[in-house]
Amino acid sequence: MERTVIEMKKITIEFPGVRALDQVDFKTETGVSHALIGANGAGKSTLMKVLAGAYSHYTGDIFINGEKVAIRSPKDAQDLGIQIVYQEVDTALIPYLSVAENIMLNETVSDLGKKQFVDWKHIYRRAKEVLDSIHVNLSPKKLVSELSLSQKQMILIARAISRDCKLLVLDEPTAPLSLTETDELFRIVRDLISRNVGVVFISHRLPELFDNCDEITIMKNGKFVIKEQIADTHVNQVVEHMLGQKLGDQFPDRVANIGELSLQVDNLNDQESVNGVTLHTKKGEIVGIAGLVGAGKTEFCKALFGESKKVEGKITLNGKTLKLKSPYDAVKEGMALVPEERRKEGVLVEETVTVNFSVASMNNFLKVFSFLDFKSEALKAQEMIRKLDVKTPSEKTIVENLSGGNQQKIAIGKWLVADAQVYIFDEPTKGVDVGAKKDIFKLITELADKGKSVIYASSELAEIMGISDRIYVMYDGKIVKEVMKKETDEEMLLLYSTGGGASE
């Protein structure tokens, strides 16, 4: 079989404020499965989006078999046989249409031309052929809304190969899949490889890449690091290449003053993404939960905070067993959560700074008969603005108008006003600028110094290393490692986060 070589040279792309890709080279060919990996923010997805024509403002060149091609729109890429399946499968599917209609969507939308009527026989026959060709046993007449996540992925893969497909890019396809579903996916990938299709695989899970891929390209901070044959490298070596620069003195110096046991979680399970997590925190301690995107950290934080249904397991705080049916109960018991989705869950974007600061502890700002004490509320807000150095014109400003970092300070600040016992932070530095990051780290260490327990969940391993006293590593909904900060390093955390090191 004749192989087609796809090559990207010196690709650079900038977004307001960041250079997401900096002179990146990438080369792969058909009939090969190629792993593309790097830590969060390394630029893997951006690079593949460039290849798929999602951006038009990059610089650099793309070659197919040595011939320069112009890819500036998704159609350009598709016409060249480059197809991509994004992680968010639901955005690409129409739930109330059938499997066949979804697979044949491109054809019905763009290839009908002047024809006004759809040839249903052709649609269903062709969809069945495509599904059969990758040995997926699904009825083409089924509605997509009835399918599981992994089946939806299959539909997207089927759609991609229903047209001329030389290179198929899969962006973190396995993150939400179970083990058997992952195996099924790799079976299809191997099928495609044998038919001389090239597959690029973006994933955080190293073991599966080592089992299934031929080549690997590693990126770091928007730059190309190295391209190797999988057979010539090793998990530890890959981890070394992936690691970013140290954050250095972003983190305040502190001597942890760790007290007695505060929170004990036994075998917490949400029947979905959290599979039996056991951990504990002590007073004055910052406990890091390291894990990659999709490891179940967010779900764990929510389950702990009473936000998930069907939670099993035992939560004990200061010797008292808690029954948390909702966040309302959790807050009453002295827990606080700074959620990952700041604008959606952390702050009230349409309300003022004052309302945001007081919302979690309204009872402190009341007069008789639940009447609001506007004065003390405003004074508290002014005090918090000064204390947290929130950049806002006044306490009456609508939070929507503030920057991400300042919004996050408010999302944290409302729990300082509420004075909780256990503080849970879920990716608190996501989308926060460097200055505000430093302030947030300072806030968190101050909480610990006051004897509070802090749980700090993040996929930024450098941050986990910088701020935690003790670290749990989460992988696939389970705690796979518990380690003291001084006994570990980023490399080891990444190894465990990617499912490695289990046999040791």
């Binding site: 909702s326 009453k332 009230l348 919302v359």
Partner: protein
Amino acid sequence: MSKTNTSVAKTEFDFFDFLYRYGTLILIVVLIVFFALMNPNFLSTGNIINILRAISIVTIIAVGITISLSVNGFDLSVGSVASLSNAVVISMFVWYQQPALIAISAGILAALAVGAFNAFMIVKVKIPDLLMTLATMFIIQGVALTYTRGATISQNMIMSDGTYAEGQITPFFATLGQVPWIIIIMAVTVLVVHIFLTYTKHGRYMYVIGGNKEAARLSGIPVNKYKVAAYLLSATFAAIGGMILASRVMTAEINAGGPYLMDAVAAAFIGFAVLGAGKPNAFGTFIGAVLIGILANGLIMMSVPYYAMDIVKGTVLALALALTYYKNK
């Protein structure tokens, strides 16, 4: 040249903001001047009381809708609930010869049952509120009709066994629908709910829930409890409206509360923009009802036929919605 352009753009923007904040009030003043010029009787004390009396039932029902809107819900069943309470309270007097206290309690209880049903289906079964309360609207309309056996309940009506109904509506209940009480009840309702929504913890929670349910829940607010409370309150005010109507006309006619739904919805939505509140509020709702009341009264005085009235009301609602949503764009 470009300078002129920007300054024009700026005034236009300010003008729009001004319109958003004060448009309703200005429109009311303009309408008053216009109707007064067309017919001097428009500003007579008698007519002003007429207008206030005419809007009181709409206002009370609309205040209920306002509460459901404050948690970002919507209650379309209020018209039917008003009909139901209307039928229940009159039947308690006429059929069962009950005292006012029991009759009124029965009217409220019937409404609370509907509110609880709405709340359960919306909060627990998670049916979108607009659709659920639309269903409830039909169900309760039917329940009220079935309860009255499709007939008007009135004093001395002929019962199915051929005798005359012996019960009488008590004089106390009969005064509730008369001036000044009907207007006082409306004023107190508006005032109490305005204070509740603006100055108490519960009102604050409701607006927070209405703005962002997820963030509210994760801040430790018992979101479901407040949503349930909102639907119960909405039904309660619909019941009060329905019973005041009963007191005013002293009968329970078929689907008596139905026509109040659209007026009340319009009043609540017009109220969004009043004084730039940008959210459902009881005072604004009252102003909205005043606007509709003045329009209806003035147009009738100008001999516009009653059957054309909905065209005007609907247009005003569309304008109010346009103002609110254009602003939010």
